[in-house]
Amino acid sequence: MSGPLQDWKSQRKPFAAIASAPVFWLALFFIAPMTIVWLYSFGQNAGPADIDISGTLDNYKRATEWLYLSIFLKSLAVAALTTLICLIIGFPVAMAITFAAPKWRPWLLLGIMLPFWTNLLIRTYALMALMGTNGYMNKGLGGLWEGASWLRTLVGMQPLEAWTPVQLLYNNFAVVLGLVYVHLPFMVLPLYSALDRLDKSLIEASLDLGAGHFKTFMQVVVPLAAPGIVAGVMITLIPALGAYLTPDLMGGTDSQMIANVIERQFKRANDWPFGAALSFLLIYAMFILIALQSMRSNKVKEAR
């Protein structure tokens, strides 16, 4: 025992004092409301504002009907695709920041984090303005199209027909793009912290032993960045799975995700018990993901 507050077992009182405030906070504002919602999920509407907690499992039965299960699976697919794209884009970004000159690194990281300082709603609308039929993306594509058309006339070919703006918004593509845009920092930051800790001489050692850059990347960088990859995947996948705003604003009629369905139960449908059941199914799914991840990391630790 080298100093105070080293081990909560031997110094229960000070730790109880320190822990009481957060425990109280969590109990009052997290555990209690979650318990209430959890209890609602076993109830049924008894009136416009009354819920009778009868212990019924009907809500869960309804929630696992194909209509909802398919939306659930689709949400999972969209979230998984988002995570994969974030990983593919985020890895080179994180590598670039790691290998940038030290004086540049804080600024590059700031650039990654800057969007966090703006409201999600504003960012989403800004992105929508960019992607609208009169937005810059369409204008840019139109410019390229016209350029190509002009090039064709140069070589004596027929010009292309007039550019018709592409419908970029209000479809699944827009949802995935929006989710990638929102979640990319969540992927980049844990990847960066893992890559930053990686001893650069390991990369040099691999090159020195005859491996090319690709082999070095696959055999040394990726395995050693694995904890960062797992962390990045988890903190991208879980919020993406529960995404509400992006599919609501950028998605079409067929691109609603599970959070949109839940929202509808609580608001328009005024069916809190069913909304609660759907919510808890989502929470259970996330629990399973987290449990799988911690089981995996325990296994890695044991293997050492």
């Binding site: 001489s201 040099e204 050692a205 691999s206 090159l207 020195d208 032993l209 005859g210 491996a211 082999k215």
Partner: protein
């Protein structure tokens, strides 16, 4: 030596600049096949940059590096016939010993059974038999270094580069590894090029040492020449401990010379120095080459009590500092002119250190072949 044979590494007019900083400044040197070559210098002198240029991790700003006669300018590190043992060892933490050592062979597609045999052989060579399944975090620093050594040696490189190989080990282990590395080099016959800031390491292991100062080669010589015949003040001071006095060359004949040092008196040498008469020079005198006497005792001193005859090196002073190191005692003696000279004396018997104490008036003499005259 094999002077006529082509050097395994030829460094030709190599310079390396990082922005405005010149790390390596027009260095040319040849490293012979089979030798244990050491690049010695203080930190920041450019020795590691030079090693990294041989490995291919840095490209020379100017000049050329040839390995086995081939220009390496456009050859990336993974295609060079050299391997490196990194200062941090850079053992892959996610692989066990076998996979670490076999990494390079696996990458180059050597058949599995050959990998197995060569890995076993390499582990035997570095005395790591029985550690095959260990993970690096279950090993000590010294063992990890052996893994790094085996991992490089298994590739059978033409040259093995070692970056500060012993700096992270404790003193006892370092001394042992010095012998082992020299022994290993002898056994495998591969050219070793080592970077170090530790002069003991350089002197004990090297067949030749290049002392690097501010990006330039200050002297290139076998260890004993470096110590006994330093080429300049930097080398004299960096390699071992030394007393340096400024003086004027007053006599310079083929068989004798004299330097008039204001701080020390007249210093006689039994050989010529081929310097211009009246030139400003420096005398370097190693502490262990100075004999210490109590005035008035002993034959040598009786002679010294009178004015020393020409050709006899003599000085007097007062002991101002002593440190007893067990095998030797180190004295700091204030000369009559006020300057401090360091003298070491072996403790040949148990009571030798009691011969002198603080504030004793002492006289010193040294042989006429002991001082080294330095022109720069």
């Amino acid at each position: 030596m094999t002077e006529t044979k082509q050097p395994i590494i030829q460094i030709r007019n190599v310079s390396k600049r990082f922005g405005k900083v010149t790390a390596v400044d027009n260095v040319s040197l040849d490293i012979r096949a089979g030798e244990f070559f050491v690049l010695l210098g203080p930190s920041g002198c450019g020795k590691t940059t030079l090693l990294r240029m041989i490995a291919g991790f840095e490209l020379p700003t100017e000049g050329q590096i040839l390995i086995d006669g081939q220009d390496m300018s456009l050859v990336p590190p993974n295609k060079r016939p050299v391997n490196m043992v990194f200062q941090s060892y850079a053992v892959f933490p996610h692989m066990n010993v076998t996979d670490n050592v076999g990494y390079g062979l696996r990458i180059s597609g050597v058949p599995k059974n050959e990998i197995r045999d060569r890995v076993a052989e390499a582990l035997e060579l570095v005395k790591l038999g029985g550690f095959e399944d260990r993970m690096p975090d279950q090993m000590s620093g010294g063992q990890r270094q052996r893994v790094a050594l085996a991992r490089s040696l298994v590739m059978r490189p033409k040259v093995l580069l070692l970056d500060e190989p012993l700096s992270a080990l404790d003193a006892k282990l370092r001394a042992q590894m010095q012998f082992e590395l020299a022994d290993l080099q002898d056994k495998v016959g591969i050219t070793f090029v080592t970077v170090t800031h530790d002069q003991d390491e350089a002197l004990s292991m090297a067949s030749r040492v290049a002392v690097i100062n501010k990006g330039e080669v200050a002297q290139l010589a076998p260890p004993s020449d470096l110590y006994e015949y330093p080429a300049n003040r930097f080398v004299a001071d960096f390699v071992g401990s030394v007393n340096i006095f400024e003086g004027t060359l007053t006599l310079d004949e083929p068989d004798k010379a004299a330097v008039d040092c204001p701080g020390l008196g007249k210093v006689y040498l039994n050989h010529g120095v081929t310097g211009p008469h009246g030139a400003n020079v420096w005398i370097a005198l190693r502490p262990e080459k100075i004999y210490l006497h109590v005035p008035g005792k002993g034959k040598a001193v009786r002679a010294a009590a009178q004015d020393a005859p020409d050709g006899h090196n003599l000085a007097r002073g007062t002991i101002k500092g002593m440190s007893y190191l067990g095998d030797i005692t180190l004295y700091e003696i204030q000369l009559e002119g006020g300057q401090i000279i360091r003298v070491s004396r072996p403790n040949l018997s148990r009571h030798d250190q009691e011969d002198f104490t603080w504030d004793d008036k002492v006289s010193m003499h040294w042989r006429a072949d002991s001082p080294v005259v330095l022109l720069s």
